[in-house]
């Protein structure tokens, strides 16, 4: 066999043997490229933040009073900004509250700054404080719909006086009469309060504004059930089901509506269907979404991490994982590392070696001492022809896991490529000792190494 053909065969063999480990699917490449840069900056930024905030947090002016001035400049009695006890909270939550409060205090009279602080409180279920805070924001800018709307939502969940809840929603509707979600939330509150006809009217109004609003049809169906109006309930719930076929709650309500209209078979079908479903339609409400997005407690972060990994939104996942680690969740880094590893492998399999190498570097930083990362990293370098660097990673992989026949073999390929055939034979021999069926045995035979010499 000629030298050229042997080299060609060697390269093919090496490529075949240097299989990338652990199957998995990564996100698409373009997205990955965009995300990678962001993740890197997030890592740096967040870990430096962690250093800054992992100790005791300086308190931004405890018990400080807001200047008694509203957006028009009119004087009013000073209001005390809520100051929750954060001593037991995780660092990201403390930081979020601290920064938002500081910003609110730094901008006297700014309803936006105060409101932003209120939203952070709201996002972390500090409802009593959020309620007081929204009250202040609302006073500062009574025309800003957000503050009264969010206050209504908080008061509803706090179980405030029914008249107060009702009035707050009415005030919110006055400010944003064309915003369908406000009618749905008002209707939901009225339904809970037992004011069914009013709830029905509010759902109807929401449907007038947005005929495709699932939750409005669903709510109207539920109100109709409570009012004994089976046909109306069935009509709206069936429509809601057509808009959102996998919404569990719609089918729960349909089971009831069919029961009330003496259709037991359909009721049983709807009940069975409901039991197979897990998803629930949500209200497309940008105002409340904005609040939810501010939550940095471990529960929310876990959700964001899982969602990021599930949907391939690596930036979201990375940010959540870093904050989770800061919150004392040790598995977050592992989850992220695992995702990073899989993504790097996918990039390598797609032939995107530059990005794969960058991703392996990141994965190794998240999970130092992972032999799989070192092996695959070395494999990509090997494919790129960077034998020296590849050898370093295979050596590292073998150091961590001396029983990896693949890593030994790949190191052998590297050494052979560098012209250090004797050293290569040692690695091939070691690989064969671990797994006699390994491709390393074939390579040894090709090199004319007999079993005696192996010994």
């Amino acid at each position: 066999m000629g030298r050229a053909s042997r080299r060609k065969r060697d390269r093919a063999q090496a490529a075949a043997a240097a299989e990338l480990k652990a199957p998995g699917n990564g996100p698409n490449r373009r997205r990955a490229l965009a995300i990678a840069a962001v993740v890197a900056s997030v890592l740096l930024l967040s870990f430096s933040s962690w250093l800054r905030y992992s100790g005791s947090v300086p308190h931004p002016n405890p018990g400080a009073e807001l200047p008694g001035r509203d957006s028009s400049g009119a004087k009013r009695p000073a209001a005390v900004l809520p100051d929750p006890d954060t001593s037991a909270m995780t660092a990201p939550v403390v930081r979020a509250i601290f920064q938002a409060r500081k910003a609110a205090l730094a901008r006297p009279g700014s309803a936006t700054a105060v409101g932003a602080f209120c939203q952070v409180l709201h996002a972390h279920w500090l409802y009593d404080e959020a309620s007081a805070c929204y009250g202040i924001a609302r006073e500062l800018d009574p025309k800003d719909f957000r503050w009264v709307y969010l206050l209504a939502g908080v008061e509803d969940i706090r179980g405030a006086d029914s008249e107060r809840i009702d009035q707050l929603f009415i005030d919110a509707i006055r400010l944003a009469p064309l915003f369908p979600p406000v009618y749905v939330r008002h209707a939901d509150a009225l339904l809970r309060l037992g004011r069914w006809p009013e709830a029905r009217n509010a759902y109807t109004k929401a449907i007038e504004l947005d005929p495709g609003l699932v939750l409005a049809h669903r709510g109207l169906g539920q109100a109709a059930i409570l009012m004994g109006d089976g046909p109306t309930a069935v009509e709206h719930l069936q429509y809601a089901a057509s808009l959102s076929p996998d919404d569990r709650i719609v089918h729960v309500a349909l089971a009831r509506a069919y029961t009330l209209t003496n259709r037991p078979d359909q009721a049983a079908d709807a009940a069975r269907k409901a039991q197979t479903l897990e998803s629930e339609a949500s209200l497309p409400d940008s105002i409340f979404f904005a609040v939810e997005s501010l939550a940095v407690n471990p529960v929310s972060l876990q959700g964001r991490l899982a969602r990021g990994l599930r949907e391939g939104d690596y930036n979201m996942a990375a940010e959540a994982a870093i904050l989770l680690e800061e919150s004392g969740e040790p598995t977050a880094r592992q989850q992220l590392a695992s995702a990073s590893k899989q993504r790097a492998r996918q990039l390598a399999m797609d032939g995107d070696y530059d990005d794969a190498l960058a991703e392996f570097e990141r994965a190794a930083r998240l999970a130092p001492g992972d032999p799989e990362i070192e092996h695959n990293w070395g494999t990509v370098l090997l494919r790129r022809g960077d034998l020296k660097e590849a050898g370093r990673h295979f050596e590292k992989a073998i150091e961590i896991n001396p029983d990896s026949a693949d890593s030994l073999y790949n190191l052998g390929v590297v050494l052979e490529g560098l012209g250090r055939t004797d050293e290569a034979i040692v690695r091939f021999t070691a690989a064969t000792a671990i797994n006699p069926q390994h491709v390393a045995a074939t390579r040894l035979a090709e090199l004319g190494v007999t079993s005696d010499r192996q010994k």
Binding site: A88, V93, L226
Partner: protein, 569 residues
Amino acid sequence: MAALGVACTDSQPTGSSRHPAEPAAAAATQWFTDISDEAGLDFVHQASPGDELHLPAISAGGAAFLDYDNDGDLDIYLTNGNHVLPEARIEDGPSNRLYRRGDDGRYSDVTAESGLGDSGYGMGVATGDFDNDGWIDVFVTNYGPDRLYRNQGDGSFADITAAAGAGVDGMSASAAFCDFDHDGFLDLYITRYVDYRPNKPCTGKDGAPDFCGPKSFRPVHDVLLRNESGKTFSDVSEAAGISTTLAAGLGVVCLDADGDGWQDVYVANDAYPNQLWINQGSAAPGTISFRDDSLVLGVAYNLHGQAQAGMGVIADDLDGNGTYDLFLTHLMNEANTFYGNLGGAAGYQDLSGLSGLGPTSMPFTGFGVAAFDAELDGDLDLFIANGKVNVTQAVPGSDYPPPWNTLPEPNLFYLNDGSGRFNRLDEPVRTPVTGHQISRGVASGDIDGDGDVDLLVANLQDRARLYRNDAPRRGHWLAVRAFDPKLRRDALGARVTLVMGEQRTARTVATSFGYLASHSPWVHFGVGEARSIDRIEVRWPDGSDEVFPGTQADRTITLLRGSGEPLDG
């Protein structure tokens, strides 16, 4: 009360009002008096010696009224904690306690001689005479192996768990003795919570370390033990069809939901849909079979279609229309839920808002619950034991150590206006001594024989409290014991109906309802202005009917099955 169920017009239903609603400000009179000290009830619950945040530690706190020595009065049994981790359990540490009521009304601790000092991590208690020997037995649910104690009739109990085949492990919660197969022997339904893993850390929404919720662990199925002629129990969970439903059960109550004469079961689940197990009747002798109809009957989810954090549950006629309604206690920001019975196949309706029970409970986390006619005006009022489960800000003035100082809440008492609308009477049981506590199980029964129902409240990390009912009386009463002499025990599941002119008032003989609790088997009726009862109808647990002649009010009577005559006392 039909108006409460279904209204087809835009006008709000009004409901009949036999008794004008008591304004909430009427709390000036203390309706309940804490008599724990004078009664000698010195029990102190110890949830956990450390400050670790274990789920069993915030879920525990069982309480029972029972007459274990058959002397005619109500004794007390309370479950206790210990260290949650079995390997860290304290030898000779806290244990469950039995208190005997003496003739002077004082309670003495008879745990040692009774053998009821179970030192497992106590959750709840169910009572019933499972072997029909005339002596009430005790089933204790634990985080860890549950225990069945047989009353030996001499003041002592024997742990017969293994011999009776009643061993259930894991994390059990409420349990109920009911005869599901009409064989005359009490079967046992045991709710089981979750597959708890003590080493799992959790945090709250504010990011602070917190007690885990049920969704942090794998759900489990409940257990149904069929009583084999009073000697042993068989686990028939699978055959009965309940073992494939995985959830987080906390509360249980037996009721005949469909009126077919067979006991059904309603289970309150935490964060999972509830189940209404409809008894399919005994297809073959000795078999029990259930089908879950909760969804089509409207009691799986609340009116928004959401599964709630079900804790305690009762089945009683809260709106006075002669049917079983259901009421469940829930987590704060969720509201308690009142499912009004529409009658027949129509199922139930979430009437929480209309009844006044929902929105007013939003700020509280409810556990134990008891329905009784506090002021004897003829309707059922509600007492709800509250206490948070999530670590939040410390309650001002609370002298509990952390994290317990963040959990106390006031208990609630609601007055029924007679139509199923309830008004909250603020802080009826608060005294300078007790303040707000972390309450869990509530047991109800007439401890002093004065015709009204008193309460026993189990509190985490604190003393249990005995509350004497001192409500201003607005009527007369009748206390009834329905007893089956052939079975030598109370006829659990019997439906007792008083007929007074046009008015009919029905109550069920039951000891197991609420949360981790067992209650007096006596049925207490407030009868308002009626001084006599025309007749008493009883539907016995096997579905047979018997009518007893009328009697004067303001007395206690025993209805012996088959006797046809009410007996005094």
